[in-house]
Every structure is written in C-alpha cells, then in structure tokens.
Subunit: 208 residues, 2 copies
Amino acid sequence: MKKISESAVRRLSLYLRFLQEAAATGAETISSGELARRGGTTSAQVRKDLSLFGSFGKRGMGYSVRELLREIRSILGLTRPWNVAVIGAGRLGSALSSFRDFEARGFDIRAVYDADPAKIGQSWGGLTVLPDEEMDRTLREQHVDIAILAVPADAAQGVVDRVVAAGVKAVLNFAPARLRVPRGVTLRNVDVTLELEGLSFALVNGKT
Amino acid sequence: MKKISESAVRRLSLYLRFLQEAAATGAETISSGELARRGGTTSAQVRKDLSLFGSFGKRGMGYSVRELLREIRSILGLTRPWNVAVIGAGRLGSALSSFRDFEARGFDIRAVYDADPAKIGQSWGGLTVLPDEEMDRTLREQHVDIAILAVPADAAQGVVDRVVAAGVKAVLNFAPARLRVPRGVTLRNVDVTLELEGLSFALVNGKT
DNA sequence: CGTATTTTGTGAATGATTTCACAAGCCTTG
DNA sequence: CAAGGCTTGTGAAATCATTCACAAAATACG
C-alpha cells in the first residue's frame, strides 16, 4: 500500500466533519470544490487525497454524501469503537474526560487514572478515578487501544512506558515532552506551548 | 526574507526546549547532532533550520547553549511578553488558564471570559472570570495579542470575529471548527478529535 | 607548528507534496 | 439521442522540504 502522509489523513478527518455537516443539512451530494472551500484547500487536493484510497465520485455529479461518509469512516478506522483511557486527573485530564464529543465519534473513555490519593475515587460522569497501580492490570482487561496522557512532563516517559507495556498501541501526549515509544506504537503530541510560540513567531514576523 | 515553513518554526521551538534542559544541566555547548537526537531528526536538519536565520555555531565545537538560547528566543519573538486572553471558562478554559508553564515562557494570561452568568465572577489563581460583554472593551484596554478559544464549536466563529475586531492578531482555537480570519491575523488549531482520528487510522493500518 | 579530529554551513541531490491541466464520464435539456 | 455543461480521476509539472556530502573552520595535542 502507498504511503499516506500525515497531512492527508488530517484532511480526510476534516472532510469527514464537513460531510457530517452536509448530511445534517440534508445534502445528497457534494463536490470536491465544496469540500475544498470549507477546508481551505483546493479541489485537486481533495480529489488527490481521496484517490489514494479509491474512486468514490461520479463525474459531473460529485460525491454521494452518504457513501463518502461511509468510505472515509472506513478508511480512518471509525467503523468500530475504540477504548480510550485518560491518564492524569488534573484539570486537563478532567476536561478531556468530560468531552462528550469523543463518545459520539466512537472513542469510548473506559478509565481515568491518577497517582494522587486525593483524586482517587472521585467520580466524573460515570467514571471513577482509579489509582495508577491498577493501570497496568486494567488497561489490559479493558483492552484499551488509545491512552491520552495528561500528566506532568517529567512523569510522561515513565507513564508511556507503562501503557505500552500494557499493550496500548496508540498514545496522544499532552505533556510538553518528546517521548520515545517502540516501533509499532503510534505517538501524537499536542503541545500547546509550541503552538503559542508559533503564534509568537507569526506576530513578530507579520505572517499569516 | 525567505519563507519559513511552519514545521521549521515548530522545530525551533523544540530546540529551544532542549537548550533550556541543557542549560539546566550546566552544559556550555551543544552540537547539532545532540539537538537532532533529542528532537528525533537529523543533524543536517538542525543546521539547515538554524541557517535560515544566521550562523550561530563554531565549527568543530557546536553551539554555545547560552548564545543559541538567546538567538532562538529572539527569532521566535520571545524576548518580550505577550498578553493572552482565554475565552471560555469551561473545563478546558480552566485547565488552560491554570497552566503555570505559560507565564514562565512569557505568555501572560490577562483575562478569562465566559458567557455563562454562573461562571462570571469566579476567581481562578488571581484571575476573575469576566462577562463576555466586557470582552470587546477589555481586550483592547489590556492590549491582548493572543486569544485562546475554548468555546463550543458553534460559538467559535462569532467569538473569533469579535476578538479580531478588538485588535487581536493571533488566535489559538481549540474548538473543532474551521474558522475564517482576515489577512494579517494568524490562526492555529488544536483539534483533539482530529488527533484521535489520526491515531485510529494508524491503528487500523499498522503504521508508526 | 602541524596533524588529527570534530562539527559547522551549505550547495546539490533526492524525495515528498501540491498544483496543473485535461481526457473521460455522467447528467440534463431540448 | 445529441449537445452542453459539470466534475471526477490522474499523469505530468512545479513547488517545497529533507538528506547528502564535503570544504572550511575550529580545537586539541604532541
């Protein structure tokens, strides 16, 4: 299979969102031009992205919203639900655990962990904060696929090592730290400080 | 001036972090190879990134940690503090407002706003949640440079229009929505759902 | 002082991604 | 059912980003 760039996957995810919006308004079909307009890209880009996976459109007509929704969901692996755990029950972990949007998209938060005894046992919308000693066992038991790390930077590498040992194959890291994971485990970082510094650069350079 | 890619700026931001770590351990110099190792890139990439802005190293010796720190901070516009406002006092806004790391890096959170009367007046670490009607006036008064949007997706475009009208030139958007901003305003998105879907794709495709 | 060693800075080469441009397909209309 | 008008799918071209490879500069050391 061809190599798919990260940016292409990001755009597919965006197209999926636009398709859902279009479906909500009752649209039956949508053109690459319309998807491009909403995504701030070009129609050729949209068609190229889709062509990496097949031919889903009808010439002259565009794409069937329903069909393309189904295809992109399938490409992105969103036809099955994923089990997610949030590690770290601080303010950020709390915010992420309560984000109802995730459930709607098939990311089921199965557990929240923390090392702080004061936090353990607290209940958040049906979830109880578990002590981190139970992490290793329960991550396996619940077949957790994705771990979201909302822990301090200096704890992050230790935590990621443990979740990987417990069979987790995908990690979304919010700690401002560069983590090492073995081959076969996918890591993505959300680094707010980096984003702010990017904005700072843009401000002093007058770029858009 | 040459065009600087977004990824180059991201890497500079990372190098900055590594330099701070190195400085903390008392290191006087650092090589491109060492920076590359920590950043998961190559030494040639590091040198190329730096060469976009000047020649900061000594052949045979590497870079002076102190000097390169100063240079990168200057490149990224981090020699002055920036005024930041957080819009939306939900859980995410709360988490962001309390993130002490920002202050340390020169991003001063000057105000938090919300539209919900129940939240207004609450005090968080020296900041009082202000009603959104005061936004337009106080953003200007406080010379806010950067707005962090932590509001629901369907409110985001309206909010961004208002902060732009109030003179804000950089926006960090956490809402899962594609926003339109005029030329001269920089927008960055942090979209957790997109990241999760990227992980989902990796899981079903066995990619790293 | 000269040689060995290290590491930078940077053109040239390679690789990846985006844009262009157009033939081919599908629908509508008369 | 033929002509006209859209819109797709995709090679080719162009642009953008990364890696290579090496001369030049700096130090260390005998």
